[in-house]
Subunit: 246 residues, 4 copies
């Protein structure tokens, strides 16, 4: 068993990133070095006698377990952006807006040897995300509270990927173009067709190339005794527009 | 401009991973240090006077530009596996079978600080893949020619991810279970429903948990003067079954 | 306003097919000739003083308003069968099994100048369907309670369309072939892939031609102030296999 | 064997609606009473010695065999309109514009005891449709060449269904409202999202109720020795907006 792991007690969960020191919870203190000899499914006990079950962590836990104030981007969509742009794990990524931090956390997790800058205008969302990042033990996220368009004025032309999931994404498109290094990618996520179109057209105007727009639909196959059939949990989540500064 | 870049001359392309030394092609030798001062869209000239245009590289080039003898797994599907399993860039991955090497190359590219072991039974496919890997300059792929089930007998319980895209995937399922470290993932790709079902059921039998089966459908949005409409290039590619050793 | 119309009082509804005589309900008796001078949205009052609102009827009411004991086939699927087979409104149709009677009612409604024979094994379903047909005022449905395979032994080679939505549909396929007139169609509805495959293969064995298998997915477009997006109420309902006796 | 049947010689086909008299073709004259004793798959011979194979007719032949100058509406979409609106076979239908006549022919075929009025602005399309209708032997289609908005000024409030597949469909919406009888339906077919939205909004403004917008996606199931998989011939055809005058 290697970190990170998930400690679960009732409806509380904790992402643990180191197997030394202590984890302070309202259910008591857990000594983390005890985890070293444990296996998934085993338990540890806090000094108050409360049991915590040890579960493996996966990036999907960001989606499932983060406290959420906004609808997060789903793994299928994040995976597509990573695959489409050929993201390398030592990149500089701008994520605007942060929302609850799911996307930034995913990016930070894959981009383990790089950095993620995430910008959010609404302090109450930033606060939720900050707590999520802390709990997840992600060290390579730089969180900024402010208007992304204004904040980005201070950025240099050095980003490998800019990702937008924000209301005024159209306004952000030329800014993204400026701060992307050559051959960098802009990816924009949006649930609505009109705004997707506006982003698409703005990206072409501003100089992006290889601009594409699409959505991914996840269709599950259900195998039951009575037979096999397709079904969807969610059909449409959002459209992705992606383009390149070349 | 940073490596890797793509050099293109007519219908030939070359992935360049270092900006020093020489690139030997049948259209002449290119001095790679010349690339240092260039920009995307510029050209370099071989000693035979042939021009090569400089294009940015992306992982999607594995899919577009590799010589292919088999139908490769598409970026959407690879991205989903990366996102679903929370792949870290310093993992040990088994990819069976290699085919033309697109999936192994993708994994090696994301998993830059880890290793990919890829196994292929058919020597003629392995040869194509070997040439693709060489051209792509990927150093962290270990290629083995042989039957994956037999080859894996020599492997230890240390893989983070096993990916199968092979005929006898059902037979490989218990082997995958054995060589995965705790909390590791098996992901199986298959175009057909019957075999997807057989894999799904075998995974449950063998002890995998959180087993899910699904496909991803990419629906493009086409913005034209006359109006916007959805379309697909390819509807169905394959089903993915993914499960975890917990 | 022309018959049929729907009379609605609270959660009770009544399909009215004639504008003469009386409608006896547990909320009192309605004199139907009063409907002649009314408009949709107007009300009539029973002899007990209960109001009934007058609504237009559509075939979709079979789906929405019938008492249902089984999951009925949806309008999209029935429409496709009608369009694919080129159903004429003076045909002889066999519907097995009846279920709650939605499909039989739809067929009877379109096939106004023809006849529908519907067979159901389970008396409690047949009873529900009988009441639904009575309420809908459909005169061209012949209801038989019994095993469709056995019942069909008494049928002649004269059916234009046989429709199956029943457990042992595979067993019914050769029977359907025998009782179809030349160039008649068999359409089979089934939610599961394995059984759809078994039906498909049996239809080819038995001599059906132009055999096709498919499903229809209804994707809604939602127009809201905030933007337009696709969504589904239900993704998968069932597969249709259709073939012809030629 | 009953009429109509299809006579096929090489790449020429003829819809035959009566088994008496003669069919004059450029490959000679066929005596139609000869068909009475024939079976599907048999042949008849013209006075010039040319063979014509006898095939069953289906409404799908309108789609497959009509001479086409425009992209016709597909059976799945026509079937959905018939099912959704609960079309009765003795209705009065307006179809604008005619195009190649596939939709009008379908409507005329189902609506065997009613009438279809079809309007087309472009004489060259109307001419193709006229020939298609003649060949199909459909007697209950009234063809008008002219602008649908202007032509409809002469119509009374008596249509059960108005169907639009024309460029200026938005302009036609209030006209459709006026000429529909109470509880009648308007159905509009359009490939593009923007125009679908404009139609949807205009229909609400004009007073239509139960307005819905959707598309139907036909997903085929392919059963082959190697396995079963889904595929599409065509993914998106067009959106349907349907509403009711209540």
């Amino acid at each position: 068993m290697r970190p990170p792991v998930v400690l679960k007690s009732g409806r509380n969960f904790y992402l643990v990133n180191e197997f030394e020191g202590e984890l302070h919870t309202h259910k008591g203190i857990v000594r983390l070095d005890e985890l070293k000899e444990k296996r998934y499914g085993d338990s540890v006990t806090s000094h108050l006698g409360v049991e915590f079950k040890i579960l493996p962590f996966s990036a999907a836990d960001f989606f499932r377990l983060f406290r959420k104030k906004a609808t997060p981007v789903m793994p299928k969509d994040i995976g597509m952006i990573i695959a489409h742009t050929g993201l390398q794990p030592d990149s500089l990524i701008l994520d605007a807006g942060t929302g609850s931090g799911v996307t930034a956390a995913y990016f930070a997790y894959f981009n383990k040897y790089g950095e993620v800058v995430t910008v959010e205008k609404r302090p109450e969302f930033a606060e939720v995300a900050r707590e999520n990042f802390r709990m997840a033990g992600l060290k390579n996220i730089h969180q900024i509270v402010g208007d992304a368009v204004e904040v980005a004025e201070g950025f240099k032309r050095e980003f490998d990927l800019v990702f937008l999931d924000m209301k005024n994404d159209v306004e952000m498109v030329p800014v993204a173009y400026r701060i992307l290094r050559e051959a960098g990618f802009l990816a924009v996520y949006n649930p609505y067709i009109e705004q997707t179109k506006a982003v698409y057209e703005r990206m072409l105007e501003v100089g992006f190339r290889d601009v594409e727009s699409f959505e991914l639909i996840k269709v599950n196959l259900e195998f039951r005794r009575v037979g096999t059939r397709p079904f969807t949990d969610i059909f449409h989540t959002g459209f992705i527009v992606v383009g390149r500064k070349i």
